[in-house]
């Protein structure tokens, strides 16, 4: 053996690396599809994260830069300086002391008066007695002297002389004597003691009464709990609510006008400039977009014309909530505006005494912020209670963290991030499984090669990483490309979407590490783990089993016995049995698509349904709530509108750890034509109040007739427990219904008290100054209208995206099934079967699986969506269930079926292209 003739070379680079690229090129269609889907999804999610992060950063910065309030409170009228100063200290007012002082002051006068009167009476009597005694003695002496001189007096004459002298003495010296005596009497210890005792008795009575009242107050507000003063700076932020009209008189909706803001709750100008004179106004940019108002337009607000000189975003109104208790914001028919102080004076409407405040010591976190706001509320309540203006009341108190107008947009951006991430992960998992199934098929096809390589000394890990390479490269490239697209075009699309829903400020695009992690690291890890598990399971098998093509884990020695059906049927069943893992994957994929479609189809359907049921179920076309039920002359306000009926309304809260829901309490006439309650409602054996609850209430909180509901006063700890008599068919809101009598009894009101009128006709004969609120159908449709506006258009596009996703998933999975059977298909061709017959054998099982999967997935998707929907609604006020009419299901079914039909055509062509020689070739 001549070793000199042997030439050694260098160890080459791993040739399998070259093969990875070759594999990807050979299967470029499949990889391209997966790549496109991942890029699109990652791009979208990355766009959402970047847009979110940039916008949130801008919102957070604006809190400080634009001096956002830490909360606000509205009083029934303008508070005096002293009250505001006291509120600003953030200290609890000593309510009992002030009340006691007031009561003592009042009592002191009364006691003094009473004691003085008694003393005066006593002194007068005594003075008179003394004078009489002195006069009697003097006159008797004189008469006695005269009798000694011989003058005779009868007894009557004597008495008469005494009386006359007494009267003269009274006239001459009573006053001075009385004054002197009174003075002396008041100087006596007896008098002082009497006064002291009387005062002490009165104060004891007062203390008892005040202590009782304070105990109740303390219990309600938790005034005895640990309290730290919360010093704040208070700013006047008065506003006027009125109507907004175009120059041509067309009513746009409601508008809230503020005077010039300089110290608190500033604004970001997105177009134009600030108002400079009384004729100029800036309006909310979002509302301007929706109502098609631009700078230079003229608006009639509160009877006065204003020129719109700027479109702005107020830091305290990133979402246009008219009231914090509204279910949904309304950027369509509600506007926030600002004019100069002079312009504000020109507006003909009541000024609302709203005050913003900022904490002097900023809270470090949300927990502390909540604690501060709770403490400040106590200070506010007590300070208003002790105000000089005894009629001053708190009408509203909203800390910033609980203000929907400030937090909703921010929270919603957060929800978008979570939702899109979940979708990305589901889709990546689906794609990873498709990869895994594809690779499993490849492992089967390449079993002998793998066996040879393993027998030659390739380790499992070397082969594992080789087979992992393609999915990892695809997901890595898709992540990079997706992030590039996310940061560029998709981010702008998402921002535009946000701008069309919320009144957001200008923003600067930020590098977002979270986007990178969520859209790159997580998909890579998902792809890695899923493929690792699937591929490792197969590669664990011995080289010999690969060489023998024996890769089945469960060793089924015998084929499943089939009934004596026709040959074609049995053939199809065999195809089905062979591809069960692929069909399971197909089912998961279709379920995923159906979940997305449920949202795309169901959301508009739900909103339509909501609008219809709202219109049908509204119990009166108009609900008029009066600010006072008596006019200026003290006469009860009535209306002649046909069918008008008195009703009462109040708001309570259903408290829970996660969300406090505002509940409307209605009191209606016993035989109301609008809200028909059973006559038995009052007749509970235990004397307990029984009520109806709205269908929305029952559905949201799963309450049944017979259950007891507990509601609380919003700013007090007073609770109301009512037994539910029945569910009232009203899906429009979270409400409780009872008779007016029950209502007045429950809330300690006069027997005939009421809040306003229900009527199907427009009530026109009540002076607007007595009207506090007018609720029409339009108001109740606000939520549906806003959601439809924000999401409606996107849902249509979303539907098409779902069809494309469905088509891609179906394409990828059916491709695997056909590839797996290529040689068999080739052989059946050689045997003489035509393409139609072959297609019917190989495509029919898939068709059946798709149709059945669709059917099941529709319901699973709907149920999953209903769960998501409920989760979403539980964090919002109000309720409407996720609904899908039968036509919606049909639409979903048809959309996926269309996608499948398209793919079937491609599959048919694929089968036709399989050459007959394939079956005759070697395994390679």
């Amino acid at each position: 053996m001549d070793n000199n003739k042997i030439f050694f070379g260098k160890r080459p680079k791993n040739p399998l690396i070259k093969r990875v690229w070759k594999d990807m090129w050979r299967d470029k269609k499949r990889y391209l599809m997966i790549f496109i889907m991942l890029v699109a999804t990652i791009g979208m999610v990355s766009g959402i994260y970047v847009a979110n992060n940039s916008m949130l950063d801008s919102l957070h910065k604006n809190v400080a830069e634009l001096k956002r309030e830490d909360g606000h409170f509205r009083l029934s009228g303008k508070a005096d300086e002293e009250t505001l100063e006291n509120i600003a200290t953030g200290e609890l007012a000593d309510v009992p002391a002030v009340y006691r002082e007031r009561a003592y002051e009042k009592a002191e006068g009364e006691v003094q008066k009473a004691v003085d009167e008694a003393t005066e009476e006593s002194v007068a009597e005594k003075v008179k007695e003394v004078i009489r005694a002195e006069v009697e003695s003097a006159v008797t002496e004189q008469l006695s002297q005269a009798e000694k001189k011989g003058v005779k007096y009868s007894e009557e004459e004597k008495q008469s002389a005494i009386d006359e002298a007494y009267e003269n003495a009274l006239t001459e010296s009573y006053d001075s004597a009385y004054d002197e005596a009174l003075k002396q009497a008041k100087e006596t210890e007896e008098y002082q003691n009497a006064l002291k005792d009387a005062l002490a008795d009165a104060q004891t009575e007062i203390d008892k009464e005040i202590d009782e009242k304070y105990a109740e107050l303390s219990d309600r507000y938790g005034l005895d709990e640990k309290f730290d003063p919360v010093p704040v700076t208070i700013y006047e932020l008065f506003y006027k609510d009125t109507e907004e009209y175009r120059a041509d008189g067309d009513n746009i909706g409601k508008v809230r006008v503020y005077p010039m803001r300089t110290d608190i709750d500033l604004y970001d100008i997105l177009d134009g400039r600030s108002p400079e004179n009384e004729n100029e106004i800036v309006i909310d940019r979002m509302h301007a977009d929706n109502a098609k108002i631009k700078t230079g337009d003229t608006l009639k607000i509160g009877g006065t014309d204003f020129e719109v000189v700027g479109l702005v975003s107020f830091v305290d109104y990133t979402t246009l909530y008219e009231s914090n208790t509204d279910t949904m914001f309304d950027a369509l028919t509600f506007d926030i505006t600002m004019t100069t102080d002079e312009g504000f004076e020109r507006i003909n409407s009541n000024t609302r005494a709203n005050y913003a405040f900022t904490y002097r010591n900023k809270p470090s976190d949300e927990y502390e912020e909540k604690l501060l706001s709770d403490h400040f509320m106590k200070a506010l309540i007590t300070q208003v209670a002790v105000s000089e203006d005894e009629d001053l009341k708190i009408e509203d108190y909203v800390p910033a963290y609980a203000n929907n107008a400030m937090t909703f947009a921010e929270n919603d951006l957060g929800h978008d991030k979570i939702m899109s991430s979940v979708l990305l992960y589901i889709l990546t998992a689906v794609m990873a499984f498709i990869f895994a199934v594809t690779i499993s098929t490849t492992l089967e096809q390449e079993a002998s090669v793998i066996g040879t390589l393993r027998a030659s000394g390739y380790s499992k890990n070397e082969l594992l990483w080789y087979y992992m390479s393609a999915p990892m490269i695809i997901v890595l490239l898709a992540s990079l490309a997706g992030n590039v697209i996310g940061y560029t075009s998709f981010k702008d699309t998402i921002v535009d979407m946000y701008y069309s829903s919320y009144s957001l400020p200008n923003y600067v695009t930020l590098w977002t590490p979270e986007a990178f992690i969520r859209t790159t690291i997580v998909p890579i890890v998902l792809m890695l783990v899923i493929n690792l598990i699937v591929i490792t399971r197969t590669l664990k098998l011995s080289p010999l089993r690969f060489l023998r093509h024996d890769l089945k884990r469960s060793k089924r020695k015998k084929a499943v016995r089939l009934p004596k059906w026709k040959f074609f049927s049995r053939f199809r069943i065999r195809i089905f049995l062979q591809n069960i893992p692929n069909y399971l994957m197909l089912f998961v994929g279709i379920t995923f698509v159906m979940l997305l479609l449920s949202m795309a189809v169901g959301m508009p359907e739900t909103l339509n349904c909501l609008q219809d049921t709202m219109s049908d179920s509204l119990f009166a076309q108009e609900q008029l709530i009066l600010s006072s039920t008596e006019d200026d002359d003290g006469i009860i306000i009535t209306t002649k509108a046909d069918g008008a009926e008195r009703f009462s309304i109040n708001s309570l809260e259903r408290k829970s750890d996660t969300y406090n829901e505002e509940v409307s309490i209605y009191g209606v006439e016993e035989d109301s034509r609008y809200i028909k309650l059973s006559n038995d409602i009052c007749k509970d054996d235990n004397g307990e109040i029984q009520v109806y609850i709205s269908q929305a209430y029952a559905e949201k909180y799963k309450v049944d007739p017979g259950d007891t509901i507990v509601l609380s006063e919003k700013y007090e700890h007073k609770e109301y427990s009512w037994k539910v008599y029945d569910i009232y068919d009203y899906p429009g809101g979270i409400a409780v219904f009872m008779t007016n009598g029950q209502f007045n009894k429950a809330f300690d009101k006069d027997e005939d008290d009421f809040s306003g009128y229900l009527c199907n006709e427009k009530i026109t004969d009540i002076d607007s100054k007595y009207i506090a609120k007018e609720i029409t159908l339009d108001d109740t449709l606000k939520i549906a209208r806003q959601l439809d506006h924000s999401l409606g258009a996107y849902m249509v596009y979303f539907r098409y995206i779902c069809v494309i996703v469905a088509a891609i998933i179906l394409y990828l999975l059916t491709k695997i099934i056909i590839e797996k059977n290529e040689r068999s298909i080739s052989m059946t061709k050689i045997l003489g079967y035509d393409t139609g017959e072959i297609a019917s054998i190989y495509l029919a099982p898939t068709a059946v699986v798709v149709l059945i999967s669709e059917f099941l997935a529709i319901f699973i998707g709907f149920e999953l969506m209903a769960v998501f929907w409920k989760y979403m609604m539980m964090s919002m006020s109000g309720w409407f269930a996720f609904t899908m009419p039968f036509s919606g299901f049909v639409k979903e079914y048809v959309l996926v079926f269309v996608a499948y039909a398209l793919i079937t055509v491609i599959d048919f062509l694929r089968i036709r292209k399989i050459p007959k020689v394939l079956a005759l070739k070697n395994v390679e």
Partner: protein
């Protein structure tokens, strides 16, 4: 030749059965033999005689029920799965009846899959010339004839210059002329590189070119012959 070289491969009381209970089938019933270093050994026997099972056990891709195998002094039973993979990687080359080439790698790249496993592989171009494939080095497997594909498969196995080349019916799927070409190639490899070659075949004629012939039947060694009158592959006839 030293004792170590004479007993380069030593098999002792090797047993293997498949199935259990009534279906138990003894495939190897206690084999004892040795193969010297550089020897061309042919395992001969009809179908079902256990020769492929023996080859797989020698290759570390199947396990024996009992008995021992020593290769160059190393006991195969002492090796765990990783150890066996390392053993195959460093010492063994495999050639199968089916060529099992990677379809989308060309001839040279397929051979590189073997070269990658060795720290000191043979020069690939030189080997391609010896295999008669240099002109075809850029072709994909499906552009080659069966014989050419088997040459590639031999090239892949031999490029890492293994101590032992295991060939499982390498000519089983080839015609007479091509089979002779392949046998000539294996003979050339054995001569040039000095590898120990163990070839499984049922072709009686091939025993004539071997240094050592072990005849198997029913899982037992019927004859263990040292061929002192071996002829070249070119001279074989069947």
């Amino acid at each position: 030749m030293s004792e170590q070289e004479r007993k380069f491969l030593e098999v002792k009381a090797l047993k293997k059965s498949f199935g259990n209970g009534e279906t138990k089938q003894d495939v190897l019933k206690g084999l004892d033999f040795t193969v010297a270093k550089g020897e061309f050994c042919v395992l001969l026997g009809p179908s079902g005689s256990g020769k492929s099972t023996l080859l797989n056990i020698l290759g570390g891709i199947d396990n024996a029920d009992s008995g021992e195998i020593f290769i160059d002094g190393d006991r195969l039973a002492d090796m765990d799965e990783k150890g066996l993979t390392r053993y195959r990687r460093k010492h063994l080359g495999y050639v199968f009846q089916m060529y099992n080439l990677i379809p989308n790698l060309n001839v040279k790249e397929n051979i590189e899959t073997g070269a990658y496993l060795s720290d000191k592989p043979l020069d690939i171009d030189e080997l391609l010339k010896i295999l008669g494939l240099y002109e075809h080095r850029h072709k994909l497997p499906n552009q080659l004839s069966g014989g050419q594909q088997q040459r590639v498969s031999i090239g892949r196995a031999i490029v890492k210059n293994p101590d032992i080349l295991l060939c499982d019916e390498p000519t089983g799927a080839l015609d007479y002329n091509t089979s002779k070409e392949i046998l000539q190639l294996i003979e050339e490899v054995n001569r040039k590189y000095g590898n120990t070659i163990i070839m499984v075949t049922h072709n009686e004629a091939i025993k004539l070119m071997a240094d050592h012939v072990i005849k198997l039947r029913d899982g037992m060694i019927r004859r263990d012959i040292v061929n002192t009158e071996k002829i070249t592959a070119a001279e074989l006839e069947w």
